[in-house]
């Protein structure tokens, strides 16, 4: 992990409110599921903002940023060449599955970022994986081209049925799971999705890892601002012990962010 002063190399709209942003970094590798703390250009926000690492190759990292507030707006409005500080890779990523088990990836919305990274890494190692990917509507399904290019097996759902199955991705997943032997789950998305995956994992006794979100001040484990509750009710740091947790490590009844 280090903090590098770099520049935006590419910025590209993926939908009306999501952007692909690339920048050079000086780290050599990352674990899918890890994230970066991005300094936001201009002076519009004070703290950095966390983003999952979607891709990394040849020293260039990519994030997928969805505009939800002032910081994400300013980042997405930045131009190629804008100087930015990038701290990373932060946190603990996904632990890879046992060789023989099929990896069932589950992504919701911009959760596709880290999951794309995981998918690419698994396929590069010749592992079996299926990606379940849900969004509100077709235009919110991102990275479909890239997923096709890396040969991913993607099953989509949209809430309005405009692409793939109609409904929540967890429902589609649950239906298919009966036919998959020894699946292990890897999810990233809104809290509701993580909760659903945790519930499926518990009910079916299949292992599952989820990437959690939390408001973060430092991203490096020193402020204790990002805590979430572990299974024993103790606080653990989302930015350090997470963001990826085994669902059994966490308490699932507590209220989300």
């Amino acid at each position: 992990m280090n903090d590098c002063a770099t520049k935006i190399e590419l910025i590209e709209a993926l939908s009306n409110d999501a952007y692909r942003i690339r920048f050079a970094v000086d780290w050599k590798a990352f674990d899918p599921g890890q994230f970066v703390m991005m300094g936001i250009p201009g002076n519009v926000v004070f703290l950095r903002r966390p983003f999952g690492i979607a891709r990394f190759s040849n020293g260039v990292a990519e994030i997928c940023c969805k505009v939800v507030g002032r910081g994400t707006r300013a980042l997405s409005d930045a131009k190629v060449g804008t100087r930015i500080d990038v701290l990373g890779p932060c946190g603990r990523g996904f632990r890879f599955p046992q060789k023989e088990e099929p990896a069932i990836l589950v992504a919701g919305g911009y959760g596709i970022g880290p999951i794309f990274g995981l998918c690419e890494a698994l396929l590069a190692q010749g592992r079996r994986c299926i990606l379940y990917y849900g969004a509100r509507e077709t235009s919110h399904l991102l990275y479909l081209d890239e997923l096709a290019k890396i040969g991913a097996n993607v099953k989509c759902s949209t809430e309005d049925g405009s692409h793939g199955a109609r409904g929540m991705i967890a429902e589609l997943l649950e239906k298919d799971l009966d036919n998959i032997e020894k699946p292990s789950l890897f999810a990233c998305g809104p809290h509701g999705l993580s909760k659903a995956v945790a519930e499926i994992s518990r009910r079916r006794g299949v292992p599952a890892q989820v990437s959690m979100e939390s408001y973060m001040a430092c991203g490096i484990g020193v402020c204790l601002g990002c805590a979430c509750k572990d299974a024993d009710g103790n606080f653990v740091r989302t930015c350090r012990e997470g963001p990826v947790f085994d669902v059994r490590e966490l308490q699932w009844d507590s209220s989300p962010l």
């Binding site: 992990m1 280090n2 903090d3 300094g39 926000v45 004070f46 703290l47 950095r48 500080d85 701290l87 939390s214 408001y215 973060m216 001040a217 430092c218 991203g219 490096i220 484990g221 020193v222 402020c223 204790l224 601002g225 990002c226 805590a227 979430c228 103790n234 606080f235 350090r240 962010l257």
Partner: protein
Amino acid sequence: MKPDLKVKIGSLTLKNPVITASGTFGYGEEFHESFYDIAKLGAVVTKGISLKPRAGNEMPRVIETASGMLNAIGLANVGLDAFLSDKLPYLARTGAVVIANILGSTVEEYAEVARRLDSAEGVMALEQNISCPNVKCGGLQFGIDPESAAVAVRAVRKAFSRTLIVKLSPQASSIPAMARACEEAGADAISLINTIPAMAIDVRTKKPVLANVTGGLSGPAIKPVALRMVYEAAGAVKIPIIGIGGIMNAADAVEFMLAGASAIQIGTANFVRPMAAMEIIEGIEVYCRENSISRVGELTGALEVRS
């Protein structure tokens, strides 16, 4: 010529005036592993340590504000035992100057923590937090009433033989009175300010943003207030002052020294730029060189006030 950056706080000599602030640096591990050799700092102040471990407040605990942030961590910490067994040995190995920040909800708790840290090797100084703005039951009265503060400080003074720093709350309505009370009670130095109690509300949900309702404000927003309080404290006591509050760069640090601080602490800046403390040490050195200052101590209280 390289300026002499050494400063003295009580019986402790720091290699430079830059200290990392309690609660913004963990117990040093994360920074030492990923960013820099923490022995290069003037000193490291630990997260506040209580007798028993504290889980802290519910989520959310932090939120950004205009040029600052609110936190309501709730003084979460591993507790004294775990600090001594798990955290201190690591810190000691790094060679960093370790200042243990301590808290207590009673005079007895302060004294007990201080006593046990007195016999711990590797703790060079205590910073007694008499503010605790986030914890409902704890500490508030010590921070706003000079007499209660004096009682708490005397107890710790008796229990701890090395350098004792008392960290003031900005809620005290008279900083000079508070600083004098602590000096008389035996403090070797005063540090200030802790965060200012504050609040944020989400108009969409009609709820407080922080689960704890209120939290402590830190960052550049509070710098002008902190600077004034440091100036007042420095005018009231003879012991050294450590300035804290919104310091983001070397110029900010120099401002606090001119106002009367012998050393300064970097808090929230550690979150925004992990290398901040190192950059500030360097920046202070550059400032000294450019202004022909041979000892950084010459800056302390060098403010020219027309009268």
